[in-house]
């Protein structure tokens, strides 16, 4: 992690506050940026401007532990992998404290395997950063797929699936969406979404519709609310315009 940039309440945070007196909300954002204990360690090492192969286990362990304890205090959902690393660090530390055994002092640096893992992880982290910058289809270059319409397929077979499959497909898709960084999923009640569609379809046929005509009294209070919410949502998504020439005159709804 070269630069952590989080934006919180409009303020840019690019560095961890030195004293670790981090407001919990900041910390959460920062911690979410780490891809695991190795990533956190790399960050701590980098922050000290030291060579990874010199891994100064004492200060690093201390800092690592303070992060962990803050995370725990905050009841942050701490992956157990972070705790495993904590015990690894402690173990290395205690082995370093033991009087060095003259014989195997040279070949058996207790830090060796951790350093190896850090280097290995760093290698793939670099690789992933390179992947990120590669040109991508639809973003940096454009492929002609289906550029040409072919003659309409003879018969369209109707897909065969059950309504419940639709529901589980949607749930699964939402779950998966979590791993991508773009989220804009909220649930609205379906009746509102449906009404949005029907208002839009109506507006495609008529340029303008009188505000009042959108409401059907027979649907009762709930129906009116649904329609009203749908109108608000359409305005929010800038799909429709609401116009009124002078006060108390008719209100018209039209497509943007």
């Amino acid at each position: 992690m070269t630069d952590i940039t989080a934006i919180y309440n409009g303020k840019k945070i690019s560095q961890l506050p030195e004293d670790l007196f981090i407001p919990p909300e900041y910390l959460r954002i920062i911690l979410e940026e780490f891809e695991g204990p190795l990533d956190l360690l790399l960050y701590l090492i980098k922050k000290q401007n030291i060579d990874i192969t010199d891994l100064p286990i004492f200060p690093i362990t201390e800092q690592y532990m303070s992060y962990i304890s803050i995370m725990e205090e905050m009841h942050f959902e701490l992956a157990s992998d972070y705790l495993v690393m904590a015990s690894t660090l402690t173990e290395i530390k205690s082995r370093l404290l033991l009087p060095a055994d003259a014989e195997d002092e040279e070949e058996d640096d207790p830090r060796a395997s951790l350093i190896k893992r850090l280097l290995e992880y760093q290698k793939y982290k670099n690789a992933s950063e390179k992947l990120e910058t590669l040109p991508r289809n639809y973003r940096d270059f454009y492929v002609v797929t289906n550029g040409v319409d072919s003659v309409k397929s003879k018969v369209i077979e109707t897909p065969d699936f059950k309504i419940e499959q639709l529901k589980s497909a949607f749930i699964e898709v939402l779950k998966r969406a979590e791993i991508f960084s773009t989220h804009n999923i909220q649930s609205e009640t379906l009746s509102v979404r449906e009404r949005m569609s029907s208002i839009l379809s109506g507006l495609k046929l008529n340029d303008n519709i009188l505000f009042g005509e959108l409401f059907n009294v027979k649907e009762g209070r709930l129906g009116v609310i649904v329609t009203f919410l749908a109108i608000l949502e359409l305005v929010k998504e800038s799909l429709i315009d609401i116009t009124q020439n002078e006060s108390m005159s008719n209100i018209y709804i039209g497509l943007k």
Binding site: S153, L166, E172, A177, I185
Partner: protein, 173 residues
């Protein structure tokens, strides 16, 4: 390198997933010197290029689009056979997103799925009349907004969208 107007239009028509109108092309090019007439002329010049070729530009209801000429159906159907994705997961998920999040654009669906979708899926849904275009979003490209139709509900034997299985725990996801 700069391309001739004809070559630019050719590229746009091929890269686009949807037919393009002269007005849409005008807007994309955003150049005062280019008129509607010029674009229409370019398209007809382009078509001369394609006299002996197996494809040409056709004007359909929603604009201009490249189409295969007749004669290659046998080959094309072999090509398309492998792409039958009506029963695929992608098809099911696309349908589900349109049903539960309508009205949505293709880009919305791609954002949610995290994957670009095959144009065939949208086209099949439109051909099945399970979805229709209910408008365009006021963002660059004016993408089409899709919503499900009553035919879609009929297929599942439902009256309204609110009869679809409820997704109550979405908020907690």
């Amino acid at each position: 390198m700069s391309y001739s107007l004809e070559n630019i239009i050719e590229c746009l028509l091929l890269v686009s997933d949807e037919p393009l109108t002269v007005n849409q092309i005008l807007k994309i090019l955003d150049d005062k010197k280019i008129t509607k007439k010029k674009i229409e002329l370019s398209i007809s010049n382009l078509n001369e290029r394609y006299i002996d070729r197996a494809i040409h530009i056709k004007q359909v209801a929603s604009g201009y689009r490249f189409q295969a000429k007749t004669g290659l159906e046998a080959y094309i159907s072999k090509l398309k056979d492998k792409g039958t994705n009506r029963f695929s997961k992608a098809f099911l998920e696309t349908t589900a997103i349109i049903a539960y999040k309508q009205p949505v654009t293709r880009g919305d669906i791609e954002d949610i799925r995290g994957i670009s979708i095959n144009s065939n899926i949208i086209r099949t849904l439109l051909e099945l009349e399970w979805i229709k275009v209910v408008g365009h979003r006021e963002t660059p490209g004016k993408p089409e907004l899709f919503a499900t139709t009553s035919k879609f509900l009929d297929y599942f034997d439902k009256n309204t969208l609110s009869d679809l299985p409820e997704i109550s725990d979405v908020d907690s996801l």
